[in-house]
């Protein structure tokens, strides 16, 4: 047999495709919607047909289950877009066709209903639908899937039990009860996705509320900080120094709030907030601007251990701001595994280290001495006209170093 020689790209609409389960328009599994879309009729027509067939001893349920299994299997293997093509010329033709096929099936299956049904079809139908429900993945998370699987298995077992009981002809009342329970169970499982959806809606509502709380918090913060500062700046716009200082302080504060929010409560456990704070302190008294870079900053530092380092850094920043004449001062901190290093550098006037009079106790005491007492080192390098760099190094205790997760 020869296949028609047209290249796939030349065909506008593809040949017949296996319908996909229509999950958006589904009531149960999307089978009726999928078939309706393929044939080109309203899905209510197919649903009526299924119900009508279900009334005839339950054949509709069996057909539904089989179609569901087939479509779910086929759909999972198909890629690409699905373009349904109506199969008959006019809508009324299609409806008539569905009706005729349904009636034909009903008439055809009616003789089988009495004997076969009670014994085989009902139980098998339940088992099949139970398994399908158990294995249908509807994108729920773990615990719900487990519940659904367990429930599905229970329905299946109930179905088998019905089968066994009806065979040995136990009292009708027991049978009816079991059937009732299984049907109720099945309905509950079918309804499960809706229940899940409802609880999800509740979740999203809660999320929305959290969001609006967060928004209120941000508004309050911006009002207290940024708006206040802007007002102050408008009042003091004749004074460039204080305007600049206000703007700078506000910028630092806002950045800290935006980017380092979690650590703002326990300052000192990370290097950055502590250094930002030191820079803010110095900026209060001078008009220097600090460019702070921190590497390897983790939040496991003991605030007390690094306090001497932070104090020495603040002192170095203060010296640079006051004496160097540079308007931008770089601060670089590197948290290593067992050592913290800080560099404070300016490109200002610099000085000749040999020239420093013994009365300049600032550097000797508050930086070098402080670091030495803490078990670290401090080195000051400076060259006239080339600026100054203060290098601070503080070894961390082993217990601290062990905690570093790098």
């Amino acid at each position: 047999m020869q296949s028609p020689p047209f290249p796939p790209s030349a065909v506008a609409a593809p040949r017949w495709q296996v319908p996909r389960l229509d999950r958006d328009a589904r009531w149960v599994g999307g089978v009726a919607a999928a078939i309706a879309r393929e044939i080109g009729v309203q899905s209510v027509v197919i649903r009526v047909a299924f119900v009508a067939l279900a009334v005839v001893g339950g054949w509709g349920l069996v057909l539904y289950a089989v179609a569901w299994a087939a479509l779910a299997f086929a759909s999972s293997r198909q890629e690409g877009r699905y373009v349904p093509r109506p199969k008959a010329a006019t809508p009324s033709h299609r409806v008539a066709a569905v009706a005729l096929i349904t009636v034909g099936l009903m008439v055809g299956l009616l003789p089988l209903t009495g004997s076969v049904f009670a014994l085989v079809v009902w139980p098998v139908g339940f088992v099949l639908s139970g398994m399908l429900i158990a294995w249908t993945r509807s994108g729920e998370d773990g615990s719900i899937v487990v519940v659904r699987v367990v429930a599905g298995v229970v329905v299946a077992i109930a179905g088998i039990a019905t089968f066994a009981f009806s065979r040995i002809e136990v009292v009708d009342a027991v049978l009816a009860l079991i059937v009732l329970v299984t049907v109720a169970g099945g309905v509950a499982i079918v309804a499960a996705p809706s229940v899940v959806r409802m609880s999800r809606d509740l979740d999203s509502e809660r999320l929305e509320r959290t969001r609006s709380d967060e928004r209120a918090r941000i508004n309050a913060h911006l009002h207290d900080s940024v708006l206040q500062t802007l007002t102050l700046i408008q009042q003091q716009c004749d004074d460039p120094v204080s305007t600049r200082r206000l703007a700078r302080r506000q910028e630092r504060e806002l950045r800290g709030w935006l980017y380092n929010r979690p650590s703002s409560d326990d300052e000192g456990h990370r290097l950055r907030p502590a250094l930002e704070q030191a820079a803010a302190d110095v900026e209060q008294h001078t008009d220097a601007v600090f460019d702070i870079v921190v590497v390897g900053d983790t939040d496991d530092l003991d605030a007390e251990d690094v306090a001497p380092l932070i104090d020495a850094t603040r002192e170095a920043m203060f010296n640079a701001a006051r004496h160097s004449g540079a308007d931008q001062i770089s601060v670089f901190a590197d948290r290593g595994v067992d050592v913290v290093e800080v560099f404070v550098r300016d490109e200002g006037s610099g000085f000749d280290p040999d020239d420093v009079a013994s009365d300049r106790r600032g550097v000797a005491e508050s930086i070098v001495g402080r670091m030495r007492r803490a078990g670290g080192t401090a080195t000051v390098t400076s060259e006239l006209g080339r600026g100054t760099e203060v290098e601070l190094s503080l070894p961390l205790r082993v217990s601290d170093a062990g905690k570093v997760a790098r």
Binding site: R255, P262, D291, V293, V294, F332, E389, R406
Partner: protein, 211 residues
């Protein structure tokens, strides 16, 4: 003369940049959003695009991607108020040759544009710090390319000096190497950052904040 395009959604900032840069470069185009930007870059073919990171309908990453998709070759210099690691690293990984914060003064911006136009990399101290963080530790994955996923000791040294606030010239002096060598180290680091297949690198910025 180096042809420069400006992409920023703040008119005032763009006007300021234009007046600063127009004395040294030819400003060939301006845009204030992602679609306009890629259109403008495709028609005006600048040597360097000075691009804000956050735009109304996307980021500089989108502008770079769309420009590349059109097959236009140009160099990007990202300019942003954001110091956030994620912003900086994502823009650099998308292909930008440098990153400056808006706090940079005119001289720095002019210098950076010139450098980027020559094919060099521009590191602010902050970016150098992020790079050190990104390549931190001795984490080497089995599938990782050791040449790409680690900095050489010299590169690390250069990055540390950049993070300490030294200019290329100063670094060359301190390490007694030529400025060209410093530049090639910086370019190598930038390339590693862009090509590295270490998947931590992509997630790094986010993880960093949880530490």
């Amino acid at each position: 003369m180096i042809r420069v395009a400006l992409v920023d959604d703040h008119d005032l900032l763009r006007a300021g940049l234009r007046s600063t840069l127009s004395t040294h470069f030819e400003i060939v185009g301006e845009a204030d959003d992602v679609p306009d930007a890629s259109e403008m870059i495709a028609t005006s073919r600048p040597d360097v695009v000075v691009c804000d990171v956050h735009l109304p309908s996307g980021t500089a990453v989108d502008v770079i991607a769309q420009t590349l998709a059109r097959g236009v070759t140009t160099s990007f210099l990202a300019l942003s108020v954001s110091d956030e690691a994620e912003d900086v690293i994502s823009v650099i990984r998308a292909g930008a040759r440098g990153y400056l914060t808006k706090a940079s003064d005119a001289e720095q911006v002019i210098d950076a544009v010139t450098r980027v136009a020559e094919g060099d990399a521009v590191f602010s101290p902050q970016l150098a710090g992020f790079v050190l963080d990104a390549f931190a530790g001795q984490l080497t994955l089995p599938e990782a390319d050791p040449d790409l996923d680690q900095l050489t000791p010299r590169e690390r040294e250069v990055m540390r000096l950049l993070a300490r606030g030294f200019a290329y010239k100063e670094i060359a002096r301190r390490l007694t190497i030529s400025i060209k060598t410093v530049e090639s180290h910086a370019s190598a680091v930038l390339r590693k950052l862009q090509l590295s297949n270490r998947n931590e690198l992509a997630r790094w910025a986010a993880d960093r904040r949880l530490l």
